[in-house]
Subunit: 382 residues, 2 copies
């Protein structure tokens, strides 16, 4: 029915959820991923097995497309430059991606644009840390290549030998954290924006991954509005159409600092599938197709719990599956990944509370049944 052809770089769970929503419109989506058994492989109208970080492969893959998008940042930005020059719609803009893909450039971007962010310095070796010892205790973050909690290390003292991470890093002062928030902003080609409610992210210290999130965040409405305004400022600074998932620190003093931004659909927006009038995946499709933006309104409070692989690798199995489904308003999303690995996102569960039910209790129920359940063969015993 629709003539615009979408080419998506990356075939993981974000791509899969994008496809699930796109299905009801009958749009044509091609997906590129190196893993022939990735979550999108069986679902895309066209699946191409290949590397999205190889410029030539991306150019060949996207040759006939009208829109090129991505669900992972580690793609060939050079290829996106070329595609944009050819007049193809590229979301996110390659320049935005270049800034975001280097945490050093990203921090500098916030500073240049007057966007509050934690104090930092660029470092490459232990001596560099000594020069910026006033930032300690800090986090050391690899400038490139990190994802899902990888490439981040806490640093309390100047290290004696090598840095715990190789290559160029950002040394970021640890803030006196009250909680972590995220705000998702949709930005259209004409510069209009729609902003979702701020959500509260609770992290799993084992993997430095989101354990669960609450929507809306349990913070005063004034703070929530400030967080939304700040996220819009980030999107204004980037000034290109796309989705901006802005992660924020709320300090104990009530200060809001931008942690980092993802220029795409994001884990912090998974609850929008069931809890909001338009989901983040729907918004992205609307941007790709040039359709009007959807409503970001939250229908009711919601929680999202990640199903994360425990220790050991092997075929994935969610043991207490039926128990999860017993709770009303529980939505299981299983990403159809062949194998579980420690810290791998295998699925998520969204919970909308039934009338008079308790969201906190529901979250705990899901955690009890999912923590043990992922990968029955290799379940984490601790």
């Amino acid at each position: 029915m629709h003539s615009r052809r979408i080419a998506l770089l990356g075939g993981g769970q974000l791509g899969r959820m994008f496809l699930e929503n796109a299905l009801r419109y009958g749009v044509h989506v091609s997906v590129l991923d190196p893993d022939p058994e990735c979550p999108c492989a069986s679902l895309a109208q066209q699946f191409v097995c290949g590397r999205f970080d190889d410029a030539e492969t991306v150019l060949r893959f996207a040759a006939g497309a009208d829109v090129v998008g991505l669900e992972i940042e580690h793609v060939s930005v050079e290829a996106l430059d070329v595609l944009k020059q050819r007049g193809i719609t590229v979301i996110p803009d390659p320049q935005v991606l270049r800034t975001i893909n280097d945490k050093g450039l990203q921090k500098a971007f916030y500073r240049t644009n007057g966007i509050p962010t934690a104090s930092y310095a660029l470092v490459e070796k232990a001596e560099d840390v000594r020069d910026h010892a006033h930032l300690l205790p800090a986090y050391l973050k690899a400038r490139k290549g990190g994802y899902d909690g990888k490439g981040v290390q806490g640093l309390d003292h100047v290290p004696h030998g090598n840095l715990p991470l190789q290559g160029p890093c950002v040394l970021e002062q640890r803030v006196d954290l009250d909680r972590e928030l995220a705000v998702l902003v949709v930005r259209s080609a004409s510069g209009g924006t729609r902003t979702y409610d701020a959500v509260e992210m609770v992290f799993d210290p084992r993997y430095n991954l989101v354990s669960h999130l609450l929507a809306p965040a349990r913070i005063p409405v004034q703070v929530a509005e400030r967080a939304q305004a700040l996220a819009r400022r980030v999107s204004d600074a980037f000034a290109a159409p796309g989705l901006y998932a802005v992660e924020l620190f709320l300090t104990r003093k009530g200060e809001l600092l931008v942690n980092e931004t993802a220029p795409r659909v994001h884990n912090s927006g998974h609850h929008t599938i069931e809890a909001c009038l338009s989901s983040q995946f729907d918004q992205l499709l609307r941007l790709y197709m040039g359709w009007p933006m959807g409503s970001t309104q939250l229908l009711c409070p919601a929680a999202m719990i990640n199903l994360v692989g425990g220790e050991g690798s092997g075929p994935a199995h969610l043991g207490n599956f039926e128990h999860l489904l017993n709770a009303p308003g529980t939505y299981v999303h299983w990403y159809a990944k062949k194998e579980t690995r420690p810290g791998r996102k295998m699925g998520h569960v969204t919970v909308l509370p039934e009338q008079n039910s308790d969201l906190d209790k529901a979250i705990q129920e899901v955690k009890v049944h999912s923590a043990l359940g992922v990968s029955q063969v290799n379940r984490r015993v601790t």
Copy 2:
């Protein structure tokens, strides 16, 4: 992840929406349909092109399945009998299907079970109508093979020549109708039930199809509860696991009469995808898999508008598509059918009202933009 294999007879829009929901669980679904370009063809894990009304084809298709289901009633009931005897879970039960597939048997079933239904007689020719002239004005309904408004004729007088429908018919007294309702009941293997709110169906007189529905129905709560209780009685009478979409007449005197029942997911439940905690498609999957039933709770009032093909046949096109998407809380479901035909269901739009918005106005907006839009090439000009 799940070991139960589902074999689904029929690959139309109901099957497609079933698959869309099933995707997030990673279950395996095979679909049988004679049309290689049917809405399910590209989406099922396995698609088999063949006739679902041919016993041998169905038996071959369902050989390795654990559960056999359907999304259309006109299947080989004989094959379902055999599969059931082999110990395969068959939903709906073949006996239920046999009763429902013959409108004469269905009416007799209601009468036998003390379920109120409009007065009727079985007729085959004009003289038979004369013997039951006290039922006029009436509807003449083909006992077998009718669907989507086909096989139904109004009858005000005893016809002079032949009946307007061939073959055995039900002559059903026309009731003094206030409005038409539908109640969807989910019935588990253990006989437990979950009942959705009663919805109100508004018909399109051109095609005798549902034009739009409102959930919940705008009727007093006592009437709604009586409608739900009556629908549960129908499911109790059938006494087999499955979904029961019970269509009801509410007369001007406040009487509730069962019109007919569909033993499957149904057009009157499409709003449940976005408006209820568990959709009808999710409930059916849960029954197939032996999982606990989901919550039928309505999150907010909703409307569902069918996108029905106008005059002429040809490639389908929804002209004012973007206009539909401008309204907040509007969900377009396009069934990916290759061609539109008069009265063919091409898609539907569900509307959830944004805060302080007007549902009636939203319905009218959708109607204005969708009525002209379906099949731009062959649009209905009147």
